[in-house]
């Protein structure tokens, strides 16, 4: 669902007011400062969340732009982030495209990053550089590292490739495990913990520039078609709130701000753009095929 700009109300109260009240009951809602409530944004290992400098800059930028306190909430998995969002304990979150596809009926797209001026990326299947594998079929019987079961590039695409072969991960691989981070998949494959791995292409490519000694130990054996980059979403019930609107505007205008450009530089993005659900049609098709095979 696309987020509109009109305010929606339930029984005369905004949804945000209701959610705030609910959150206050469980004691986790932030205390408002300077008269404005704190905005919480969830982050996941979709991107390089290990960079503390990036998190500090992002928090400062959003606080300035939104003129209110902003709290960045880091979760270990996409699912945890989504559950927190659905529970109303987050105002918005950056989730995987696969998770968006699965829950798009309840989510509103706020912004999608632009990588090389396009909102697309690819999924890579990688192996250790010492491996003799050159195609996806060559990694049969290996110990495989997935990123996250809710990640399209880190799980769904490989599952789709297996579905095409009418096989499951347990049948195709000797064993597999989840690392809950694209960077972790690369570490696992590079250091020999796993023999192959499914990883977000964007992460692999920017790590190639920033951590070449790690990437040099890996090799790509499969590149997927273009997939929509993970979006920043809010509940469709809250997307019209001024804070969410302001967040969207701040993301879209990041390229025009000095601090914003510094953040984009750290993320290796060219900016943010609006997008529709059609961006993820390819992901939807692959998910449906996997579901049908399962």
């Amino acid at each position: 669902m696309l987020c509109g700009h009109e305010q929606r109300h339930i029984f005369g109260f905004s949804r945000r007011t209701i959610l705030c009240s609910f959150a206050g009951l469980v004691g986790t809602w932030p205390v408002p400062t300077n008269g404005k409530a704190e905005l919480s944004l969830g982050l996941t290992p979709v991107f390089l969340d290990n960079d503390m400098k990036l998190l500090l800059l992002l928090q400062r930028y959003l606080s300035q732009q939104l003129d209110r306190p902003v709290r960045l909430v880091r979760q270990r998995t996409y699912r945890e982030t989504l559950v927190t969002l659905l529970a109303g304990q987050l105002d918005a979150t950056w989730i995987s495209d696969f998770l968006y596809v699965k829950h798009q009926d309840r989510l509103a797209l706020l912004a999608v990053p632009l990588y090389r001026h396009q909102p697309f990326s690819q999924a890579f299947v990688i192996v250790n550089k010492a491996s003799k594998a050159s195609t996806f079929d060559d990694i049969r019987g290996t110990l495989h590292a997935f990123s996250d079961p809710d990640s399209a590039s880190g799980y769904l695409i490989t599952r789709w490739l297996l579905a095409l072969r009418r096989e499951s991960p347990s049948e195709f691989f000797r064993s597999f495990f989840f690392t809950y981070g694209h960077r972790n998949v690369i570490r696992a494959v590079a250091n020999g913990l796993a023999e192959s791995g499914s990883v977000e292409g964007y992460v692999w490519e920017i790590m190639k520039e920033r951590e070449p000694e790690l990437i040099d130990k890996t090799r790509i054996v499969f590149r997927s078609e273009r997939l929509g980059l993970p979006p920043i979403v809010a509940l469709d019930t809250t997307c019209d709130l001024p804070a969410i609107q302001a967040l969207t505007a701040a993301l879209l205008d990041m390229i025009s701000d000095r601090l914003g450009r510094e953040i984009l530089s750290l993320l290796a993005f060219d900016g943010f753009t609006t997008a529709s659900a059609t961006l993820y049609e390819s992901t939807v098709k692959k998910w449906q095929m996997v579901k049908a095979q399962a």
Binding site: L143, A145, S175, F177, F178, T179, Y180, N184, R187, A188, N191, G192, L193
Partner: protein, 483 residues
């Protein structure tokens, strides 16, 4: 070479520094061993503590993941803790499940997922956990059983690199050896030079303590100011002793001259007696010729008597002349030169009725100072006559063999006192006897023997004394030159 092996024969200036070096090495070795032993104990104890803390940290980090058998979480924890513990350098850390298979390791290529834990580790920690150090290969191993609710859920193994510890040990050992070696060398060299300097006065004393031309030189006063007071006093006493010895030497020489003259007096009186004896008969023969000269038989008998008397006087005079004024050629000795001595001692033998066994085997002229040889032989004979009892036997043997002249004089006297015999026996020149003591004659004889390059030996045969003198004789070429 053998002398070098005898430690007792080493000079003090070497012996003391070697002793110091030996003590230093012993002390240094002992101290180094104790220091190093304590250091190793502390090092291993500290390493065990640090390693134990490391395992505590790793255990806490991996335990929740082990129960879920989460490969990535375990690996991530091992990887992150690898370089976060100061003092511990793990070469690998691995977590094994109770079935003995690897769940995850910091070095997955070496210990792959689900591989069997290596024999090396299983053997070292078959039953118990612990900490093992193998210094031979510079490795340490740790093992700890991980429990959740008291139930073993896995084992944590770690291999530590302890080469830095061993390198530190080697560095400390090298430093100890180097410092101690330098100190030992410094002390030994210091001891050598200090002792050499301290003992320098002794070498000065050694240089001056020898007889030179029968005299002992005093140490110059200039040395006196350069040495310590102890050695200064020693030099003073040495100089006093040297002066006394030199004075005694001068006096002894003077007395020897007097003795010589006294002996000459005795010889002269003996000669006068030997000359006087035939003179009475000769005068009687002259009187007989005067009275009965017309009788040819009486005249012939008297003249024969006169000839024998004059011949006897001539022999005595010639012997004295040859002995004390020198022959025509003093570098030749002939048989007669020694036989003449019979005439010089006959007064002494006759007065005491001594028997003389005279064996002169010198049959050819010898290239040797004849005058000196005669003096030597005469002195020994006169000494034997003086020592022999009345009617005693005196043996004189002279022979030439092995390019040496051998003269043996034996008597039946009470035996030559040892201190006097020492003048003849000693290879080096003895100081002259004290003026009040006896033996000046033999001391003079010993000086003559040494001047000719010979030697003497004194034997005691039970009764009396036998003196054997050996004098080197020059080659026949020298004889030709002398002739």
């Amino acid at each position: 070479m053998l002398r070098l092996l005898r430690i007792a024969a080493w000079p003090l200036v070497v012996k003391v520094p070697v002793l110091v070096a030996g003590l230093m090495i012993t002390v240094a070795t002992t101290i180094s061993y104790v220091v190093l032993w304590h250091f190793i104990q502390d090092q291993e104890s500290n390493l065990e503590l640090v390693a134990s803390a490391y395992l505590d940290g790793v255990s806490a980090a991996v335990l929740p993941a082990i129960t879920r058998e989460d490969v990535w979480e375990v690996y991530d924890a091992l990887d992150r803790t690898r370089s976060r513990y100061a003092g511990v350098e793990p070469r690998f850390t691995l977590v094994a499940l109770p079935n003995g298979r690897v769940l995850a390791a910091s070095d997955p290529l070496r210990f792959p997922f689900r591989s069997i834990v290596p024999d090396e580790l299983r053997r070292r920690f078959a039953t118990d956990d612990g900490f093992i150090i193998d210094t031979a290969i510079g490795r340490g191993w740790l093992a700890r059983t991980l429990r959740a609710g008291g139930v073993p859920v896995g084992r944590l193994f770690a291999g530590l690199d302890i080469t830095n510890l061993l390198r530190l040990r080697r560095e400390i050992l090298s430093t100890l050896i180097l410092v101690n070696a330098c100190l030992t060398l410094a002390f030994a060299l210091g001891g050598y030079f200090a002792l050499k300097r301290m003992l320098q006065p002794l070498s000065i004393l050694k240089d001056y303590v020898e007889l030179r031309d029968g005299r002992v030189e005093t140490i110059p006063e200039s040395y006196r100011s350069r040495v310590s007071s102890e050695f200064g006093q020693l030099f003073d006493r040495f100089n006093s002793m040297a002066r006394a010895l030199n004075e005694r030497q001068v006096l002894a020489t003077h007395l020897a001259e007097q003795e010589k003259y006294a002996m000459l007096g005795r010889l002269a009186s003996g000669m006068a007696h030997e000359i006087n004896n035939p003179l009475g008969g000769m005068l009687n023969a002259i009187d007989t010729i005067q009275a009965h000269g017309e009788d040819p038989a009486v005249r012939l008998t008297s003249l024969d008597f006169l000839r024998r008397g004059l011949g006897s006087i001539r022999n005595v005079a010639r012997a004295a002349l040859v002995t004390y004024k020198g022959g025509s050629d003093i570098n030749i000795l002939i048989q007669g030169d020694l036989d003449d001595l019979l005439f010089l001692v006959q007064h002494e033998t006759g007065a005491r009725r001594l028997r003389l066994d005279w064996q002169n085997y010198v049959s050819q002229p010898l290239a040797i100072n004849g005058s000196a040889v005669r003096q030597i032989a005469l002195n020994l004979l006169l000494n034997a006559c003086a020592a022999s009892p009345v009617e005693g036997l005196i043996t004189f043997i002279a022979s030439y063999s092995d390019e040496a002249l051998w003269i043996v004089v034996a008597d039946e006297g009470p035996g030559l006192p040892k201190n006097i015999a020492a003048f003849l026996d000693q290879a080096v020149s003895e100081a002259a006897p004290a003026p009040e003591s006896k033996g000046l004659g033999l001391w003079t004889t010993s000086q003559l023997i040494r001047r000719l390059g010979g030697g003497a030996e004194v034997d005691y045969l039970g009764i009396g004394t036998r003196v054997t003198v050996t004098l080197p004789v020059a080659s026949d070429d020298a004889l030709d030159v002398a002739a």
